[in-house]
């Protein structure tokens, strides 16, 4: 008991300094093995290839996910004048307020607090790409580089060509890749940043 008290006290003290990241995947409660239910035997059938059937697509499963084309980038067209430039332009009052508070927390060196505020905003406007972009930055601040990149990609996917938010996202991706030691990937992100900045008039 005393040991646990000690452990917990340590945890509390640590918790006061920095908050731990709860794991989502590692503890995912996938169910215990089925019990009490008759399992239906799967018919014994061969895997591919099937004789007499049109030849299947060459093995290898689904192709790798095309995250970004490896070909030379076409120039980014200059954005139309009405493209929203910041969260406030597309967000309601509540989300604008939360995003503003999050910015203040981030500036104050409290990325976890900023993240909590942004997640509240995300629940109100789940597809607001500015929120996802800022969430990606909050992960970058906390050195969660994989998540920073994933969330920035998600923001890009929702942004549907909004170059202002894409610029921020590619900067986040560049920083994440640099931090992970992926120089080639960082270079590709840098090319995106350059192309967008050029389209925006030299940025």
């Amino acid at each position: 008991m005393q040991f646990r008290v000690l452990i917990l006290s340590c945890a509390l003290i640590l918790g006061a300094c920095a908050t731990q990241q709860g794991k989502r995947e590692a503890v995912w409660p996938w169910p215990e093995p089925p019990s009490g239910q008759p399992a239906r035997p799967a018919p014994h059938l061969p895997s591919e290839p099937i004789p007499g059937m049109p030849s299947p697509i060459p093995p290898g499963g689904p192709q790798p996910i095309p995250t970004e084309p490896q070909v030379t980038l076409p120039p980014v067209p200059a954005p139309p004048p009405n493209v929203p430039r910041s969260a406030e332009a597309i967000s309601g009052q509540a989300v604008s307020s939360l995003v503003k508070q999050a910015r203040a927390q981030r500036a104050a060196g409290q990325p976890a607090q900023a993240q909590a505020l942004l997640e509240r905003a995300q629940r109100i406007e789940p597809r607001n790409y500015f929120i996802w972009s800022a969430l990606a930055q909050s992960h970058l601040d906390q050195k969660n580089f994989d998540q920073a990149e994933s969330l920035a990609q998600k923001s890009n996917s929702l942004a549907r060509g909004n170059v202002y938010v894409e610029l921020e996202n590619w900067k986040t991706i560049r920083a994440s890749r640099t931090a992970r030691g992926d120089a080639a990937g960082a270079q590709r992100a840098q090319e995106r940043v350059d192309a967008i900045q050029q389209a925006l008039g030299g940025g």
Partner: protein
Amino acid sequence: MLPRNFKTAAFSALLLAGSAALVAFSVYLLSLDKQIRDRFAGARWQLPAQVYASPTELYPGLSLGRPSLQRELDRLGYRAVPELQGPGTYTDGKGQLQLQTRSFRFWDSTQPSLQLGVKWAEDGAVIEVYDLEAGAPRDIVRLDPMLIGSIYPKQGEDRVLVKLEEVPDLMPKGLIAVEDRSFNHHLGVSPKAILRASIANMRAGHVVQGGSTLTQQLVKNFFLNSKQTWQRKINEAFMAVLLELHYSKKEILEAYLNEVHLGQDGNRAVHGFGLGAQFYFKKPLGELRAHEVALLAGIVKGPSYYNPRRNPKRALERRNLVLGVFRDEGLITEPEYEAAIKQPLGVAGAQGGAERYPAFVELVKRQLRGQYHDDDLVSEGLRIFTTLEPRAQEALERRIVEQLPLIEKGRRLKPDTLQAAGVVTSVDGGDVLALVAGREVRYAGFNRALDSRRSIGSLAKPFVYLTGLMHPDRFGVSTLLPDEPIEVKAAGAKPWAPQNYDRELHGPQPLSNALAQSYNLPTVYLGLQVGAKAVRDTLVAAGYSGDAPALPSMFLGAVDASPLEVAQMYGTLAANGYQAPLSSIREVQTKDGQPLSRFPIKLRQTLPEGPVYLLNWTLQGVLTYGTARAAYSVLPGNRAFAGKTGTTDDYRDSWFAGFGAERVAVVWVGRDDNKSTGLSGANGALPIWSRVMNDIEARGLDLIPPGDVEEQLVDTVSGLRADEACQTGRMLPFIRGYAPQEYAPCAAAAEQGPMQWLKDIFE
């Protein structure tokens, strides 16, 4: 006359015996002392984790009608009053609803109690949230989250710790008046009290007062599990005195308030007035009024005998008797007494107990396991903030409870033979918003939503089609698939010859139609084209975690999964291929409100966006003209949803999984003994699914094509490119660069001859 030395010897012997007795007694006292002190310290330490729902956010633009907010406030135990009377009250006034929130320590900050005025626009959305004290509008405020359960130890003691300062004065004073009037003066036991109690009881003709002190009762509560023998009673009396020697009256009173047994909820024992207030009135102890305090003080005497839910009449008499004592002791005035005895018991329904959502709390426990020590969960008073959305949970529960008997009646099934489970999640963040594990929604039994792995039937088909659509050179939404008999032969096994559900052949089918109608043969054809292993990879990429063998039978659903796992898989589709691992927890705080850990949104792109878009576009057809078209008799026609029916062999399992822009819902209906129900996905699970989606006002899909998808007019007869001249033209999505270039016979452009392709190049 006895010899002198005999006297001396006797005296010595007596002295020796006396000393020995004294030593023995001291040892006895010391052992009691240790027991009671350990227990006292332990009682102050062992605190079950408290589990909270997601808080409701109030802000201008929120689409939450006035009745829905009122319902929300009722659920939180807010009291309707003519004028605001402190935290936890609201006034349903003209033009606006006023409420006073409870102060609450959220994970990120403490929100003090606020007096707010809420106004609505014509369309039913909130238009203003006004801070009445500050005299200014607010951008966003949170209501205190609902306490939905706790994680308590195996022996079942559950409590919500209160400090003496937070307890309304009437509670301890009333308790002392009713149970132990000399509490502030006695030394743990009170012979006078015993005498007085006996006289009072004799006078009344029945037991109105107990003779043991609060201190004795506290000791008794500490060892409630031991049998009550005379030896125990003597031990308790000594322990009471020892307690008084070690601890102050305030400490003993506070321990009593948190320790006393107040009721039973299955195998969960309700201890202390903090949980008692939640359990019986679903609100904090600080908000109880005289008649409610009196009921709790009265129940102490016999929590089961005076159980207000089972024995309301007895409990009411007891409460009014206690109110009489309050008045006689000057704790309440005569008018207050008169008003209080007119009040009904006011006990929250069976739903009022804190253990409202046992199935969801089970999910929370499993997610915490591995990160927190089991012992810490039940003893450290952690505050766990979850993703549960009470509105969604209520809708899912209500529709399952309401629809199952209707389905049984409509299909002439024996009553109470069907079971169901369901899950509602958020699309982009992967939050589990609602979870139901069976039709007895308050019963924490077999958790079908988590542990019942059943064949998913046709719910597997979209992943076959998605695998095909990942090869845009071979398959698009309009590609014709043959609907012809297929026989799959394998060495040493019976040939497999699947059939369509209707046992008919429908001729070549456009891919989108084959899926919308859930035809088996085109699906098997497509699956064999891409291969079982590729389909299995797609299932895994979507979130399937089982180990079903990569065999063609998988195309038609020889894949077992739980409803929660299906929600994960369909959630990945709904989020355009970005998988967010489902989570039921957002944050954990220590019992003092210090942040301990966060569970941030996590995601990873596991499926390509373009093909997923094509699939989701196709899955809309399931509801608009396919196997689930009945959905739009419930859902508004102007909202687009994507989904799939699932029916398994012999109609054992009826599934529906589907989503709009922000919500995924999965419903399973079947029997625990895995016998046939005669239900397809469309007439078992779908009626529940569509009603739940309608109740939660799920937003329809946006369906804005991603960058790598283009739309083109296509002749639905030939599957070739159409133009304005075609009567049968339809805008269809394609992976960019893979739309058909050859014109259909109906197209005006078709007559321009074979040089058209050259023109196209230069366009």
